[in-house]
């Protein structure tokens, strides 16, 4: 599945470039990214919770940045696997300084979505991917414009020689329940007050 897009960031191209190469920023800007582990130069192992509405899954995978042409372009390779399926993507990202001092980032992604979500989730996939990409870049923009203090990504203390690990405190705490214990409990006929504390969108149309 191919999809392309363009986003305007209100920050100079140098800053955008640096942000994308900074794991502490990536962990906060990749939608749903909870944990990023440096496995080499510009390559990371990560845990991402992604999806829309109920179709969410936790994916563990890898992300690497290559073909770096500073302030011009890079290639982002992503692949991950989770309960709903597998995702592999090669994203060509190019940067250009915009007249207003901002940066225009355009991407051309070639993604392979496998597993159940690939076979039955087709109807939503491209719009969802587009949306997540947009989210990513606006996060990057926000990260640059308002260097957060409280929600700053934490570089977890790690033994010397051990890979550096970054976590996003803002991300959903704890790992999302694995398939094995999904729907641990069920409340039947809950009262309104109880229902009121329940999360998530309602479902009610059809398949």
């Amino acid at each position: 599945m191919r999809f392309t897009g363009q986003n305007m960031l209100q920050a100079p191209v140098e800053q955008v470039w640096d942000a994308l190469l900074d794991p502490a920023v990536l962990v906060r800007t990749i939608p749903g990214c909870e944990r990023l582990e440096e496995t080499g130069e510009n390559s990371y192992a990560m845990t991402v919770t992604a999806g829309v509405a109920a179709i969410k899954g936790t994916y563990s995978g890898a992300c690497s940045l290559s073909d770096l042409r500073p302030h011009q372009s890079l290639v982002m390779k992503l692949d991950g696997a989770g309960a709903p399926g597998t995702i592999g993507a090669t994203v060509n990202v190019s940067f250009s300084a915009a007249s207003d001092g901002g940066t225009s980032v355009s991407y051309d992604a070639d993604a392979v979505v496998g597993g159940m979500v690939g076979g039955v989730g087709q109807r939503m996939l491209s719009s969802v991917s587009k949306r997540m990409a947009g989210e990513f870049f606006s996060n990057v923009e926000r990260a640059i414009l308002s260097p957060p203090s409280a929600a700053a990504a934490v570089e977890v203390e790690s033994e010397p020689g051990m890979p550096k690990v970054y976590v996003d405190p803002a991300a959903v705490p704890g790992r999302v329940s694995s398939q094995s214990d999904f729907v641990k409990g069920i409340a039947v006929g809950a009262g309104l007050v109880l229902a009121g504390v329940v999360a998530g969108a309602l479902f009610g149309r059809r398949r």
Binding site: Q122, S127, I186, A187, A190, V198, A199, A201
Partner: protein, 261 residues
């Protein structure tokens, strides 16, 4: 009670089950994995249809447990706002309509579904509740993205409201699906009032899209300027755009007729 209160913190870990016609298949396919499901099917007071004030009146309010088939069969509701019945008859198949709820469909926020678009076109609203109390979300603030509504993660939709058809106004609905009862390749509804002409579209954008074409000499063109039809395995973007033109003409003509009726 305790368990549920405990689940409050779980955020996205819990789901509400009403009709379940979308949630349950997601569970079966293991695409959704909530920790907790709250079945509200026996919550009292959510299964009423009120046409208020006494018909013919201002509009139709239907509760979160009103099934598509109940609303479809409701004569007063159909008389107050004909577009409800016109659109509901296109929702899946009768067996699905017997279980699926219209409010559930509306907050499921599927841009390929009929009822979110109808709510948007008619300028309806959804009433939601949480421990903080209740609030009303107007349709034009309800949809954030594909399958995403603006309900907070701890809010439950109680009911939806659509205004009645004003005198001298007309509505029409048309959709084209590959098979009878399938998701539409394109769906269009028209709402013509004495002072405005608006069109609602489904399956040609990420969220239900309404276009005001009052006075436009190329309504479909105006709509296509904002719509984003895409290719999928059933139809190309070009074909969808073509259908937008074909169906727009058809619904405008029929809605116009109704204004004279």
């Amino acid at each position: 009670m305790e368990t549920l209160a405990g689940n409050a913190g779980k955020g996205a870990g819990a789901k509400v089950l009403a009709g379940g016609q979308s949630l349950v298949p997601l569970l079966s396919m293991r695409l959704a994995a909530p920790d907790v499901i709250v079945d509200v099917n026996r919550v009292p007071g959510l299964d009423t249809i009120e046409v208020t004030p006494p018909w013919p009146g201002a509009g139709v309010r239907f509760g979160a447990l009103v099934r598509h088939s109940d609303l479809l069969a409701h004569e007063e509701a159909a008389a107050a706002q004909p577009l409800l019945r016109l659109a509901l008859s296109h929702v899946a198949h009768p067996t699905i309509r017997n279980r699926g709820t219209t409010v559930g469909s509306i907050v499921h926020a599927d841009a390929a579904a009929e009822m979110p678009m109808v709510l948007s076109l008619l300028g309806g609203s959804v009433e939601v509740a949480s421990v903080r109390g209740t609030r009303t979300i107007p349709a034009d603030e309800l949809y954030a993205g594909p399958l995403e509504s603006t309900l907070a993660s701890d809010e439950l939709a109680l009911s939806a409201f659509v205004p009645a058809l004003a005198p001298g106004s007309g509505v029409a609905f048309e959709e084209i699906a590959r098979r009878h009862g399938d998701y539409a390749l394109v769906g269009v509804a028209a709402h013509i009032t004495p002072d405005a002409t608006r069109l609602g579209y489904l399956s040609v954008s990420d969220t239900p899209t309404v276009v005001d074409v009052t006075g436009s000499d190329d309504p479909a063109g105006a709509a296509l300027a904002v719509l984003e039809p895409v290719d999928d395995i059933h139809a190309t973007a070009d074909y969808r755009a073509h259908l937008v033109r074909v169906l727009t003409e058809r619904v405008l003509a029929r809605a116009e007729e109704m204004t004279h009726a």
